[in-house]
């Protein structure tokens, strides 16, 4: 395993740890404002400085890891649970089912991702749950397309015919025989989509339509720091770099998984 992948895994584990156990670290309250102490540069008391309302930036970033990862994994789960059955049905039944489903996927894909998510949030209003659904709808067609393509190539295979000959019902074939075989590619897509989902979530918050501005989501922190960028650059550098490091780690691991799990790439390698 290359060193970059090992480091990325360490970063992801740290982020996961912070997201789960961050509140136990006895950092200052991420919501606790102290206006007299606003806009302080990094110091021994506030390691990453304070924001425009005097809240500790480090504890906001730590608290933000929970929200950002929640958005990432939440959105991917929405995409998986809705997109995979959708794509499998289309690939398995073919004919008009496929035509209808494929067109719906095409329509969803034809929206630039951020526009679709923006439209959904505009209708449902801001909030972390709505944000997860909005970003999830954006990842849905990606999962649907991959599972459709994989199902399409598997349904002609002998083991599927055998299962059918043994009297398996279609949903049993899909669940017991096809799903396990497309899980690998889906995992790759999921790992890469997690990074995308976090980024879209952060973008929406940056645009001010995602979470409430108080919630320490990384994109929201970045947006809140923007008016003060000239005088207090740490307010944008810190959340910006955090986002960048997290994205990079998730992408490196995703690429590595693809190299290992995708048969086409494995063949090329050896």
């Amino acid at each position: 395993m290359p060193i970059s992948v090992k480091m990325s895994l360490v970063i992801i584990v740290i982020l996961g740890f912070l997201a789960l156990f961050g509140p136990m670290l006895h950092l200052p309250d991420p919501y606790g404002q102290n206006i007299a102490n606003a806009l302080q540069l990094p110091s021994s008391k506030n390691w990453l400085g304070t924001d425009q309302l005097g809240r500790d930036l480090l504890s906001r970033i730590v608290a933000g890891s929970r929200f950002s990862l929640l958005i990432g994994f939440g959105a991917v789960s929405v995409g998986l649970f809705l997109g995979v059955p959708f794509g499998m049905l289309a690939g398995f039944y073919g004919r008009w089912v496929d035509t209808v489903f494929a067109r719906v996927i095409d329509i969803l894909l034809s929206f630039p991702g951020i526009i679709l998510a923006l439209a959904v949030v505009a209708v449902t209003g801001p909030g972390i749950g709505n944000l997860i659904v909005a970003v999830g709808l954006r990842t849905l067609p990606v999962f649907a397309r991959v599972s459709r393509a994989e199902t399409l190539s598997l349904r002609q295979r002998d083991f599927v015919d055998a299962a059918r000959a043994l009297g398996c019902r279609p949903y049993e074939i899909m669940y017991w025989h096809i799903l396990p075989n497309i899980a690998g590619p889906l995992m790759i897509v999921a790992s890469l989509q997690t990074a995308t989902a976090i980024l879209i979530g952060a973008t929406l918050s940056f645009l001010g339509v995602g979470v409430s501005p108080e919630v320490p989501e990384w994109g929201a922190i970045l947006n809140a720091g923007r008016p003060y960028m000239m005088g207090y650059p740490h307010l944008v550098i810190v959340p910006g770099c955090t986002l960048m490091i997290a994205m990079m780690a998730l992408n490196i691991v995703g690429d590595y998984l693809r190299d290992r799990l995708d048969p086409r790439f494995t063949m090329a390698k050896f």
Binding site: Y31, G32, Q33, I35, A36, A38, L39, Q52, L53, G54, A122, G125, P126, L207, G208, V209, S212, P213, E214, A224, P227, Y228, M229, M230, G231
Partner: protein, 515 residues
């Protein structure tokens, strides 16, 4: 082969360098020319937001006011205290019963298209306002009839007493429109406006700029600048940088955190204009704000001075009144920061831990979401459970307020007519309870009757007393969480002299300015 390639690359590099040098020289050119010329008679103004049209009769922003003031003129205009002051009118009189006004107009004033500005045009304009669908239509519904008695004499009859008539006729929406051009252009009129003001509309490149040129037939003092370019630059930092590098003469609404840096530059000067009052309306129809103790408590709980100094970088000062820049504005009071008092009042009212939904826009007023978060923080410290709901777009924020889905919502109010009736009626009269902008449903019969009394009083000193009484009474009821009066900053090159500002609209005008 290899060498040819290298030579080609070298030529490419030289070409690029050469182009860069030329581009650099070209970029330097306008500055150089301007320095050499005695003084440019072209003024460039950076405007933050574009607007759909310049039709008098429909206002969407203060920036639009600014353009309308240059192109149109009205029967009255405002002096710097926001008092109505005759512009096209030379003589006025009011009938004994107080409902019929006679206005004599300046003779021989011509519109930019050469047609005469006469009594017919005034009649046409007011009827157009009443027929229109503009959001300021309410300002003109009290007018019953307009008669053009002669070329220069207009008779206006009102439904009942209407002392604010002159204020409303000075509003930017009441710019006089030439009937012939309006009928000819129809819907296009707002895109190619024709007025009789100090500047003529010249061109509008959507998304880029509007140019106006001097109206040499203007009856007032001849403007110094031959041409004004109003350029649309939405990004505040870009506006600051363009002024810093000398690419513009005026930048509107520079961000407060850039002010210190700009002040250090000797070739730039900055005007601080006191603008609208920012406050939170408290929803008195449901707990916890149906209890006056909690309403007072939140006023004590917030350190207004700290918000002005630290969050807004000094671009505001704590409010001491409901509405500014109107007649009868007084120092109504001040709830000094007292967190202990706030806590005990909330405890006394049994509201500790009460759920409070705070609705705020995020890009409408200067640093609005930061202020809202700071307020939420203070209210939490006082023992309330605050949820901040922020809206990036103003229409959906308004919708939420209209549906009453809030305990407190942020609003800013500036007096665009200088008349207090409009402001108090809309924000404090019980007839408006549950509607915009008394969505918090403030009701006090005494305030209602004072508002009615004030709207019929012509005597300015008596009027001022009535409105002072309204403010004092309502201040004690604490219908709002009073915050601050915002300033806006306008930055100029230091050689620009004589720009004027109307306090109620936060709007500068340039026909008296020079270099």
């Amino acid at each position: 082969m290899w060498t040819t390639l290298k030579r080609c690359q070298a030529i490419g590099v030289f070409k690029t360098l050469g182009l860069l040098v030329v581009a650099f020289l070209i970029l330097q050119l306008p500055g150089g020319v301007m320095n050499a010329a005695p003084a440019s008679k072209v003024l460039t103004v950076l405007v933050p937001a574009e607007f759909p049209h310049l039709d008098p009769g429909e206002t969407v922003s203060g920036d639009q006011y600014m353009l309308k003031y240059h192109i149109f003129n009205r029967l009255f205009t405002f002096n710097e205290k926001m008092e109505p002051f005759p512009d096209l009118v030379t003589k006025e009189s009011l009938s004994k019963d107080g409902t019929t006004w006679t206005f004599d107009l300046r003779a021989g004033v011509k519109f930019h298209d050469g047609t005469l500005l006469n009594a017919e045009a005034v009649k046409y304009t007011i009827e157009r306002l009443q027929k229109g669908t503009g959001n300021q239509k309410a300002l003109y519904t009290m007018i019953k009839e307009v008669q053009a008695v002669s070329e220069t004499r207009v008779l206006i009859t009102t439904n009942g007493l209407f002392p604010a008539l002159r204020n409303n006729l000075a509003h930017p929406d009441a710019g006089i429109v030439p009937p012939s051009a309006d009928q000819k252009l129809g819907k296009l009129f707002g895109k190619q406006p024709v007025g009789a003001g100090p500047y003529k509309f010249s061109e509008w490149l959507t998304g880029d700029h509007i140019t106006v040129v001097r109206n040499d037939q203007y009856y007032g003092p001849k403007p110094y600048f031959e041409k004004i370019d109003f350029k649309f630059v939405s990004d505040a930092t870009t506006r600051t940088l363009m002024l810093d590098t000398g690419q513009t003469d005026v930048a509107l609404r520079v961000p407060p955190n850039d002010v210190a840096r700009l002040k250090a530059n000797p070739s730039i000067k900055i005007d601080q204009v006191l603008g609208r009052n920012i406050y939170f309306a408290l929803n008195q129809t449901k707990p916890p704000f149906n209890d006056i103790r909690v309403r007072k408590a939140v006023n004590y709980a917030v350190d207004k001075q700290a918000i002005c100094d630290r969050v807004l970088f000094g671009a505001a000062k704590p409010s001491h009144s409901f509405v500014e820049a109107v007649q009868g504005t007084i120092d109504a009071g001040f709830y000094a920061y007292d967190p202990e008092k706030a806590k005990s009042l909330i405890k006394e009212a049994g509201a500790t831990g009460a759920k409070v939904v705070l609705v705020t826009p995020t890009t409408r007023y200067m640093l609005d979401s930061e202020v809202s978060q700071a307020v939420a923080g203070y209210l939490r410290q006082a023992g309330l459970d605050v949820e901040v709901r922020a809206f990036g777009d103003w229409p959906s924020c308004i919708d939420t307020v209209r549906r009453g889905e809030f305990h407190m919502h942020m609003l800013g109010w500036g007096g665009s007519t200088g008349d207090p009736d409009n402001a108090f009626r809309i924000q404090l009269h019980s007839n408006n309870a549950g509607k915009l902008w008394n969505a918090g449903s403030y009701r006090n019969p005494k305030v209602d009757s004072l508002i009615e009394e004030g709207s019929k009083e012509f005597d300015l000193s008596k009027r001022a007393k009535i409105y002072a009484e309204i403010q004092k009474t309502a201040w004690d009821d604490a219908p709002w969480l009073f915050l601050h009066r915002l300033s806006i900053y306008i930055a100029y090159k230091s050689d620009i002299q004589g720009t004027k500002i109307l306090p109620g609209t936060e709007m500068p005008y340039f026909w008296l300015a020079q270099r």
